[in-house]
Symmetry: C2
Subunit: 710 residues, 2 copies
């Protein structure tokens, strides 16, 4: 027996490893039963409307619900594309083997009772996986609601009703939530290309599904409810490719874990945090939303609308209040009001009554007719500083909602910029609203919702742009890290995990990162000699195999002016700690921090996503201000530059209080190099450069800490 | 003629100056007309259903729309309670005079054409106001849609339909928005006790209306769409009183202005900003929301539900996903997951299957029946660390939505804590949801919405608590500022507006605020003598009548160790500026900042709200980190303490990196005193204390700047 071919399917071809799950010609249900209230019966009732062949399997009965039943897969003498299993977990390895023997390649395990029940369950799960791998079977589940493929007429779930057909693929890690979303989708008339309860993702995970729906011509966008990211590499790889073509919108729960660790702040503590996940989503072009409502709003919008080239929205309205509401929502969400060019204002001056708003939002006034609106639409859309248009209409005495809608449709047809509409009110604008919808213009009850939608469109565009930049990076050569690699290997060979400050600095230096000159001195005269050759004043710091917080034990002496000072400082530091903690001192020039900004630049190895960089306000402010961004390497100077603008310390780097602007190029350059170092040397668990001094003259690492992985 | 008495009205008594607007027995419409499409006709059509007496007034016709019309108010020979005017602006002063002569006390001016049209219009407006004041007439409008009082059957607007009756008073500064909200209210079945388009608020403003609806027994909550605050004192006074009894929820547009001034950051630049308004809302117990949707959600919720005593919510759910969604929303909005007491966990261990979640959210698992839910409800509500309960139900195989609803209703009846519900899904839970609603339990489609609602409830409770604290303060004696007042008067007499650092410090010292000892020296020897008596090291700073940014011109010399250093520094400072800019130096002890946190404490006089305090991270970080809160004095130490916890620098004050905790009492004390100073000396335009050093030993103002108002 071999699997049936899928060529007879009427739907557009979509051939991936998972196609049999969504476009099967024949389906078998193991555990089909008449027992009232059982999952097996609910599944069967949903499957009877499947237009392909259906094989209920029941070992004890010859019929179920009046249909012929088979005693086993092998008894059928036919190949099936998809098998759904709702029998107890304990039988599963045996059943999967049978599937394999019968040439089945796609299995959905509905049943629970695996690793969530403890060690025995975990063993069972492994046995299932072993059988599946042996026969090349892909498994969705276990412990899931099943899946639906509305266009194929397949409802392989025990939910009560079939989802409507549409262009959104919905993937959920919570079965309970699936049911609620499904109910909601009926009232909101949202349709799905597929509806998948992923269960515990024993085999088929996010990466497989994203890859599949990326290929599926029926799917325009992918919407995910996520509790855990699972196979991070698979997810990232698929998301990076697919989100270039189709929006992927995720609601990921678990920000609480982040809240719980709010007390930690140095680079290492980032690992596994929600912030890392945000950085990964950003890197993969995935949009994250916070509410179920946004999840679907955005999925529909982003798939259908032209995206704006920039964040600047023009608003044309016939009332000030709604314009102000939209403006506030726009600013709150991080997009911007377009600043109209002088020429545009002049044009509007000529077209509109003298007391128009003379700026954006363009208030065309309460008595505006379609002609006046039209002139405003044309003028703002022609403005090269405008990236999109929101048209607002409130029904007033002279208002003609339909005619204005017609003007907007006309304007939309003549522009490549996105156009949104908010025709406010009920019956007075209902027809006009339908007209707008039919023309493909997204309409919103309230202008604040429209403004938020525009911001999401811009965010998608912005991420796409960065994703393209990232993908270009993949083919670029990186900075050579041979020297740094050699150094690390050497230290590893010596069994060192926590590098000394001097060692850490030599690694950074080898990676091309400017560090303050740092010499190790084992005795007073060595220290004085180094000081002399560096030039006074100098700093002495404890060199210790055990103590990392040097300041706390009196291990740092600043601003030493001469040899006597150095000797005195050496003695002081030596006497402050016990012999085993003392390995000498480091001697460094005293660098003035005046005119410089203290930054932190760090890197830590995340178990799921690999190296993650941290950039932010440094010095003692790291913990207090928590002003930072996380980034996944590799970086380009442009990507680095984009992200550091999202910190508050960015303003200091621009030059405040008469200080010159810091050398931003040098900062970006160091970030790129640190990213390359982390990728080249995966043995690095943690790097903290704090402070990294930044000034107009460049950057300089004053202190550094490196920890290697065991 | 005198105004008719209102005693025959069937509605509960509500006697304020504005009662005639909302409970009139007789109404006249000036400008009643048959002309199709006119405002006068729309008004008349809406007024014909008014159950009291209606007098259409039309100078030219004896009937309008088949009803008798009068030629003028005086021609009626009867008194009316309320007059609505829709005739051209130019006739308005004359008509108001006629109203006055006829004993009318309440007038709605629908017409536009006043100050918004320019100088002529403004003059006309003043004439109207003069007449109104002369006769004791109150005016709503001009330039408004009118108002509705559904319970009285009064639709005095030109909107298309009458609002449904309800318990929410809606006040809007945008007529266009009124129409949209009205339409929306039909589909959402939201009812109103009153619906007021306030227009340009020539006479009746926010304060009057809030005061009125505070008295009105039909009104449970007040909802406002605000573009400008207008008479701030009137608003604040009314809001402070009324919000103790009824929630006031405001959507105020104009955050954009704030965004535009994002570059400015010192205390003075706060004036008139949106942040000041936020501080004022907080002070008056008013809740601010960002979207129209929240505006009405919250108005209904806050009026009906018991408020939580604290921010800690317990969640009981039969599925993990929805619980996680609720948790994320809770944390995102600033409330907290309750930490269950050990005893509660033990009780739940006994009641629930062994693999329940063992914490909050309490996952009672997919097969939970009503009995299991009930035990969980009782256990968490009995926990004294739990301030409220959110029950989540997803329809699963064993779930009995109605029975669980009954358990929740029972639990709610036995607790004083607020109870919210999210029965997710459609038809499966519809009946249960109705049951919950009927029992007065607020239900939400999605648990994230419920969590957000809980956060608003807590915010309302928190503001009420602070409002009570504020009101108590009003009767407390404040710190005596006699000495500081005298000093300021003296400086004013000398014509000084920008005080020198030394002068500013003496004012602060007189107000009881610790300042670093600061002596003025006119020559080298004075400087050296002062230094000697203070003890070395010292700091010399330029004393200049003209230059405020001393550092920029080299006017600050730190860490001077002996008389020679002082003399050299004096000469250096003197030579750095021209003679006219030099008035000597100040000599101050060199205070080490190590172990201290640099704060900024400031105060500026806002034209609308009077003195506003600013507290935040100080030093050079003010502009970069923008880590600050604004507060309206007077303060108690408790109010001050509450608010400073909302800054990030708060964490530094708690003691980081082994530093001891700062003297928080001393910080709060200085804030109270600065507030008292600002209230006692309204001549102060601006105070900047930056830095204010805070350590375990107390606080110390190192530098200060005071500007007086002209």
């Amino acid at each position: 027996m071999t699997s049936a071919t899928l060529t007879t399917c009427d739907l557009p071809a979509c051939s991936t490893e998972l196609t049999a799950f969504f476009r099967p010609h024949s389906v078998a249900l193991i555990g089909a039963t008449e027992r009232a209230g059982s999952v097996g019966r609910a599944l069967l009732e949903n499957l009877v409307s499947f237009p392909g062949e259906l094989f209920p399997i029941n070992a004890k009965h010859e019929t179920v619900l009046g249909r012929r039943a088979w005693s086993s897969l092998t008894s059928m003498g036919k190949a099936v594309d998809l098998v759904i299993i709702a029998t107890p977990a304990i039988q599963m390895p045996e059943i999967i083997r049978e599937c394999g023997i019968c040439g089945v390649r796609a299995v959905i395990i509905i049943s629970a009772g695996f690793k969530e029940t403890g060690a025995e369950g975990a063993k069972l799960e492994q046995a299932v996986l072993d059988e599946a791998r042996h026969y090349g079977i892909r498994i969705v589940g276990p412990n899931c609601l099943g899946l639906m493929s509305p266009a194929a007429g397949l409802n392989a779930t025990f939910a009560t009703a079939m989802a409507g057909a549409g262009r959104v693929a919905f993937l959920s890690q919570s079965g309970a939530l699936c049911t609620a979303i499904l109910d909601w989708s009926f009232s909101q008339r949202v349709g799905f290309s597929a509806f998948v309860s992923v269960g515990s993702m024993l085999d088929v995970g996010w990466g497989d599904l994203i890859h599949h729906f990326g290929q599926d011509p029926e799917t325009e966008s992918i919407v995910i409810y996520m509790e855990s990211v699972g196979d991070a590499a698979g997810f990232m790889q698929a998301a990076r490719q697919v989100s270039l073509r189709k929006p992927i919108v995720v609601i990921k729960v678990g920000r609480t874990a982040e809240a719980a660790r709010a007390a930690a702040s140095h680079t290492g503590a980032m690992t596994g945090s929600d912030e890392v996940l945000d950085a990964a989503f950003e890197r993969a072009g995935v949009l994250r939303v916070d509410t179920i409502e946004e999840l679907f709003d955005m999925a529909e919008l982003l798939a259908k609308q032209t995206l704006p080239k920039g964040p600047n929205l023009a608003i044309v309205t016939n009332a000030g209040g709604p314009g102000a509401l939209a403006t506030d929502a726009l600013v709150r969400n991080g997009a911007r009001l377009a600043h109209l060019q002088a020429e545009t204002v002049k044009e509007l001056d000529a077209a509109l009554p003298s007391h128009w708003s003379h700026g954006n939002p363009v208030d065309v006034l309460g008595d505006a007719d379609a002609g006046r609106y039209e002139q405003a639409f044309e003028a703002v859309l022609a403005d090269s500083d405008v990236d999109g248009l929101l048209a607002i209409l409130t029904p007033q005495a002279m208002t003609a909602p339909q005619a204005v809608a017609q003007s907007l449709i006309k304007a939309m047809e003549n522009t490549a910029k996105p156009v949104l509409a908010s025709w406010m009110g009920g019956s007075a604008v209902a027809e006009a609203r339908e007209k707008l919808n039919a023309a493909g213009i997204a309409t919103y009850d309230y202008p604040d919702e429209a403004a938020r939608a525009f911001q999401f469109m811009w965010q998608r565009q912005d991420r796409l742009r960065r994703l393209e930049e990232t993908n270009r990076l993949a083919c670029c050569s990186r900075h050579s890290m041979t020297e740094a690699q050699a150094l690390i290997r050497q230290l590893q060979y010596l069994g060192r995990l926590l590098l000394s400050e001097a060692e850490a600095k030599s690694v950074l230096k080898a990676a091309g990162i400017p560090v303050v000159e740092t010499h190790v001195a084992r005795n007073e005269s060595e220290a004085s000699d180094h000081a002399e050759s560096l030039g006074f004043p100098v700093v002495l710091k404890l060199l210790s195999p055990t103590i990392t917080h040097k300041t706390d034990v009196g291990g740092v002496r600043l601003n030493l002016q001469n040899r006597d000072d150095v000797v005195e400082a050496f003695r002081h530091i030596q006497s402050a700690v016990s012999d085993v903690d003392f390995a000498g001192v480091t001697v460094q020039p005293m660098v003035t921090r005046r005119g410089s900004t203290e930054l932190i630049l760090g890197c830590s190895y995340d178990a799921q996503f690999g190296p993650v960089l941290l950039f932010g306000a440094g010095g003692i402010w790291v913990e207090v201000m928590q002003d930072r961004v996380l980034l996944l390497p590799p970086l380009s100077p442009k990507l680095a530059h984009d992200r550091i603008q999202q910190t508050r310390i960015w303003r200091a780097l621009q030059g405040i209080r008469g200080q010159p602007r810091a050398d931003l190029q040098a900062i970006a350059d160091v970030m790129v190099k640190l990213g390359d170092l982390a990728l080249a040397v995966p043995e690095i668990a943690e790097i903290d450069i704090n402070p990294l001094l930044a000034s107009e003259h460049g950057v300089l690492a004053l202190d550094a800490r490196i920890v290697l992985r065991q």
